[in-house]
Structures are given as structure tokens and as C-alpha cells.
């Protein structure tokens, strides 16, 4: 049996919450990141993530929840987001966001798309596919920036691997 309308609503609302948190994280980092090029990239990505949150928020209404409804993710994932947000070093910020969080979400979107019915849940499918395209561009831009400014890519490999493991061990973001 596939996902019910209620299941879809809860998942979309959780994805929305995550995107709003990501938007706030990038916004919080922008003034405190010393590097101008990082600020400018984050500024653009704030808007990307906001639009993704908005699309998800319009969809929650269609899934019988309030407009722009957010549901807090499962505690382990909420904790991960909070810890990433607290990062103060630019390289660790970029690594955690673009090399861990976004690829992790990409996997979760794929899992959802595999699970849901493409016809019954068509609008969600379309939204997630569009978000995947946007995120792919964001990750590419971050790689390009770190290639141009190698100092921004200097992060402890073991720390990054541990964070990736932590993210992947969270079975579901939905509380």
C-alpha cells in the first residue's frame, strides 16, 4: 500500500520545515562569513531555498493541511540541523551544508519519489523534481567556489565523514 494523503502531507510539511531552517541558517551565516564571495553565494541560495519552502508550503494546503504548514522533523534530524547551524568556521559551514545536508536530502527525496504514486501525488513529485534541480545547481556552485578559493574547502575529512554517517543513520526525517 502506498502513501496516504495524510502521510504525504506530513512528509511535505516536514520538508518545508527543513527548508525554512536551511534558509534561516544561510541567512544567519551571511553577515558573519568574512569572505565576500561566500556571502554572495549564500545570498542567492537563501532565495533558492525560500522558493523551495514556498512551493512545499503551497502543497501542504493541497494535502489538507494549512497553507505553509511546517512540521518539526524527527529529533535526531532536528538536532543535526541545529548543530550545523551553530558552525562558525566557513569551511565547515560549506562542507556540512553542501556536502552533507543537501546530498542527504537528495537521497530522501529519491526515497520519497520511489515510494509515492507518481499519478496520485503528481504535484508533489513535480515540486521535488524541481527542488532536486535547484539543489544540484547550488551544490555545483559551491564546488566551483571552493575550487576558486581552495581555503574554503579545507575541512577535516574525518569530521565530514562522521557528519555524513550521522545524517545517513537517521532513518526518517518525519517525526
Amino acid at each position: 500500500m502506498g502513501l496516504s494523503v495524510q502521510d504525504r502531507g506530513r512528509t511535505v510539511a516536514t520538508f518545508r520545515h527543513i527548508h525554512v531552517e536551511m534558509m534561516e541558517t544561510l541567512a544567519q551565516w551571511t553577515p558573519s562569513a568574512p569572505e565576500m564571495e561566500v556571502k554572495l553565494m549564500l545570498g542567492e541560495h537563501i532565495w533558492d531555498v525560500a522558493q523551495n519552502a514556498d512551493a512545499l508550503g503551497k502543497r501542504t494546503r493541497e494535502l489538507r493541511l494549512p497553507l505553509q504548514h511546517s512540521i518539526k522533523p524527527a529529533d535526531p534530524y532536528a538536532g543535526l540541523l541545529a548543530d550545523i547551524r551553530k558552525e562558525a568556521d566557513t569551511a565547515r559551514r560549506l562542507g556540512s551544508f553542501y556536502d552533507v545536508l543537501l546530498p542527504g536530502l537528495e537521497s530522501r527525496f529519491r526515497a520519497y519519489l520511489d515510494q509515492t504514486d507518481e499519478l496520485l501525488d503528481g504535484p508533489t513529485v513535480r515540486i521535488l523534481q524541481q527542488i532536486q534541480d535547484v539543489q544540484s545547481r547550488m551544490m555545483k556552485q559551491s564546488r566551483k567556489l571552493r575550487a576558486e578559493l581552495p581555503e574554503l574547502g579545507k575541512v577535516d575529512g574525518e569530521w565530514l565523514k562522521a557528519l555524513t554517517r550521522r545524517e545517513s543513520q537517521i532513518a526518517s526525517v518525519v517525526a
Binding site: M23, E24, L26, A27, Q28, T30, P31, S32, A33, P34, E35, M36, K39, L40, M41, L42, G43, E44, I46, W47, D48, V49, A50, Q51, D54, G57, Q68
Partner: protein, 235 residues
């Protein structure tokens, strides 16, 4: 009167007052370059202020937050626009000292209505007047590249002022205490601006109000006429 400033990397020399910056007269070979560099940093300030508005007010209505997020992207793009032209004209990032006064004035206030009134409705609206006059000047000087940059910029800035005008009215109707917060913030911001610019920074600066732009940006006819009269008195 000032909050702490945003971070800058080692290329930048940050000053506190206009008089400490490189201020070249019109006609000086470095005047336009220095202006482009200053504008680049001021757009970064605007980006940072809008970003702070997003992170500092998580309970603001979603529609305002979406506008703020868009403003972040626009201001980032403006900074890139100024940088592109500056570097095309052989400028180097960090070549001149910068001021971060806008960010430091705006972010001291703990009310979103007050911050929008200062950043969007005052600084950016004042920018509409300056930019429109600069478009005219750039075309007269034959600098079509610069005129094009300004035209793209002013179209975006009108949107920023417009959403602030709409939302300040909504926020004030919902909570009239916001009007008092705005009035107090405007007074503090004016004093701070004078402290930064000094007499030297404002002497001889004169251009008309951009009536059309201000109307498009959501000011009422009465507000536009009052501003126009005040600005013509300062001339």
C-alpha cells in the same frame, strides 16, 4: 547608535566615518572606480541586513520573509554587478576603504517594522533618487555601461521599497505601537547617519526626488510631494 559590524575578509579596510574614506571629486580619474567599489560593499551591507531580518524574525509573516529572501538574492546580484564593472575598469577588490554604516544602523533595532522603515523606506528610497539622477548623469557622460547597471538596479530597488511600504502599513495597522517604534528608530538612525557622514559627506550633494520611482514604489502622492519639496529646499 550602532550595532557591531558584519565580518569582512582581509582584503577590506573598514572605516567608521565618511571623512576617513577615499573621497575623490567628480572628474578625478579614480572617482568612478572608488564609487563602484563603495557601492559594491554597500550592496553587501544590504544583503547582510536583509539576511539578518530573516534570521532575527522567524515569526514574521511568511510573505514578508519571502520578500526578504528575494531581496538577499537581488542585493547579492547588485554587488556582483558593481564588482564586475569595477574589475573591468582595472579595479581590485579592497582597493579602497569601506563603510558598513547601513548594517550597523539597521541591525541595532529589534523591530522588523523599524528595520524596514530605515533600510527599505529610507536608505533604499533615497537610493532611488540618487540612482535616477545618476542614470541621467551617466548617459550625459556617455557611460552607457554604467547607465545600464543603474537601470537594472533601480528596477529591483523599487520592488524592495514597495514591499516595505505595503508591509509597514500592514504591520502598523495590526499593531499601532509599530508606528512609535518606527518614529524612534528614524530619529536614532538620522543621528547615526549624521555621525557617520559628517558635514563633509553631505555638503554639495543635491538631486531631485524621483517622483515616478517613488510612486511606483508605493509612496502616496502626498508623501512624494513632501519629499520633493524637502529635497528641493536642500538644493
Amino acid at each position: 547608535m550602532f550595532a557591531p559590524g558584519p565580518a569582512r575578509d582581509s582584503r577590506f579596510v573598514v572605516k567608521e566615518r565618511w571623512i576617513e574614506c577615499a573621497n575623490f571629486p567628480i572628474g578625478h580619474p579614480e572617482q568612478v572606480g572608488q564609487f563602484l567599489h563603495r557601492q559594491m560593499n554597500e550592496e553587501v551591507d544590504s544583503l547582510e541586513s536583509s539576511a539578518r531580518n530573516l534570521s532575527d524574525f522567524p515569526d514574521a509573516p511568511w510573505e514578508i520573509r519571502l520578500h526578504l529572501a528575494r531581496q538577499c538574492a537581488d542585493e547579492a546580484r547588485h554587488a556582483r554587478m558593481f564588482r564586475r564593472l569595477f574589475e573591468k575598469r582595472d579595479g581590485k577588490v579592497g582597493q579602497y576603504p569601506v563603510l558598513n554604516f547601513q548594517y550597523r544602523i539597521i541591525t541595532q533595532f529589534n523591530s522588523l517594522a523599524a528595520r524596514l522603515a530605515i533600510q527599505n523606506r529610507s536608505f533604499e528610497a533615497g537610493g532611488l533618487d540618487a540612482i535616477t539622477d545618476s542614470i541621467r548623469q551617466a548617459r550625459e557622460d556617455g557611460d552607457l555601461e554604467l547607465a545600464e547597471l543603474y537601470e537594472a538596479q533601480v528596477a529591483d530597488e523599487i520592488s524592495h521599497v514597495r514591499f516595505a511600504n505595503e508591509w509597514i502599513r500592514t504591520l502598523s495597522e495590526g499593531n499601532p505601537a509599530n508606528l512609535l517604534r518606527i518614529a524612534q528608530a528614524m530619529q536614532t538612525a538620522s543621528l547615526a547617519f549624521v555621525a557617520v557622514m559628517g558635514k563633509e559627506g553631505v555638503e554639495g550633494v543635491s538631486y531631485p526626488a524621483d517622483r515616478e520611482g517613488r510612486l511606483e514604489a508605493g509612496f502616496t502622492r502626498d508623501e512624494v510631494e513632501i519629499t520633493a519639496k524637502l529635497m528641493s529646499k536642500d538644493a
